[in-house]
């Protein structure tokens, strides 16, 4: 499923976030994971659980999760952005929360907290891609 959404500018990666963004070029979602087992997003220069600065890496994620909370935005904060659109907190099965966008339903208010979602990708002009989420149950397409 594709989307008509054209994302705005995304600032360049830095040394901490480069691995996350590089993986998006191949449409691979990753979650920063510490040797201690802690997972966190966005990527940071240290583990907020154990404090380690040298034990962090981006681990592959299947990109499955549920809607933690969402809002339908009716007033665009920048020109050229079509409304309404859905902004959501998605909780990945790995436990971390991502801010993202939900697509794939005709009625944006048909979403519910707890709905199952899977990752999809919106390509950026510089070769990176932004993850967003679609319903994982194909029978819901008509909603």
């Amino acid at each position: 499923m594709s989307t008509d959404w054209v994302p705005g500018d995304v600032p360049p990666a830095d040394e901490v976030t480069a691995d996350f963004w590089d993986a998006t070029r191949e449409h691979r979602l990753t979650v920063q994971t510490c040797a201690c087992g802690h997972r966190q997003h966005p990527p940071r220069a240290l583990c907020t659980s154990c404090g380690a600065t040298e034990a962090l890496s981006q681990a592959a994620s299947p990109g499955r999760g549920v809607v933690d909370a969402y809002t339908v935005v009716h007033r665009a904060p920048r020109p050229d952005l079509a409304v309404p659109y859905v902004v959501a907190r998605v909780r990945l099965d790995e436990g971390v929360l991502l801010l993202s966008r939900l697509e794939g339903r005709h009625d944006p208010e048909a979403w519910s907290i707890g709905d199952a979602v899977g990752v999809a990708w919106a390509d950026l002009p510089d070769g990176r891609a932004l993850p967003f989420f679609l319903p994982t149950d194909p029978t819901e397409e008509s909603r």
Binding site: P7, G8, D9, V10, P11, A13, D14, T17, W21, H41, P42, P43, R44, D68, A69, Y70, T71, V72, V73, H74, R75, A76, P77, R78, L81, Y85, V87, A88, R89, V96, L97, L98, L99, S100, R101, E109, S112, I113, L130, F132
Partner: protein
Amino acid sequence: MSGVAIVGAAECDLGVTDRSILGLQTQAVTRALADAGLTLADVDGIATTGVSRFSASQLADYLGVVPRWTDSTFAGGSAYEMFVARAAQAIEAGQCEVVVISFASNQRSAKSRRLGGVHEPWVPEAQFEEPYDPLYPLSYYAMAARAYLHRYGGTREQLAEVAIAAREWALLNPKAFRYGKGSLSVEDVVGSPMISSPLAAADCCLVTDGGGAVVLTSAERARDLRQKPVHVLGYGERTTNTSFTAVDDLTVPGAAASGADAFARAGITPADVDVLEVYDSFTITAALSVEALGFCGEGEVLDLIADGAIRPGGSLPLNTNGGGLSYCHPGQYGVLLLVEAVRQLRGECGDRQVDGAEIAVAHGTGGILSTHATVVLGADR
């Protein structure tokens, strides 16, 4: 109880002023000092934000003051409650004697308010959140409202009571932006244009010019001044997040811990509070804060407010000036929570006066439920 009191309080011009930020700041500071019976020559501490990158320095320069103590902590609308705590500590420690806490904005006249896009490009939110175009701060509060209503089975109609009650108070306050504009119905609120669901236009605070100032000094010096002192009984704060995803449970804001610290320091419980001034950037902000501060149990705030408890004459007088929703919201409303709490404790509020108010709480919130600061104030007895 601290040995520090608020001895002066004032607003600058409110609404649509066509004045500059420093012009409005000057009004706020000089009016609060006049209220206290003090002058700029007495001031040796300044706390403010929203003036420039060097906010307190800038204001001190402008006023011709060389302060012994300043604070420009940027924590959105909660900064002014934090300033009370820091000022009380500085005065008790003997670093300074007379502190002015002030804020002013001309955001309505200057049309400077933006719907989103507030982050410096080098912070994580710029890479990981802003590309999704959440309205800032509105979409965060909208998701918190969604999460709360979902968890407890509440409705937008129930939440609307926060805006309806604020309007009832504003109708008693001639300085309120919505004074004389009539009562709100549930339908007025839920039927207003949707902005970021489930929050509609009438769930959102005003965008106005305005601001104010309060003056603090030692309780000892306060005895010789013009006004009855209002004592700083306790304070607490929590800083929880900048991002949309750092807080696991959107329904429990940092107000819970901030309030618990403040009440413990003051030696009181929520049952002792006569007047409650709580940041209402949105209806949900006030609702979550009232609950988190302990005025009801978990999941109970919509039931608490359903019977008119927070309206004039109710058992829990809330936002007695009309709040950010119907009185004034200059972008950082926190200083005006303090101004109203002081006036209630001095008994100066006319038609909206809460009879016999002895303890007031001012609770500020900044950012996206990011910063939370509670101040407990007591009337002079």
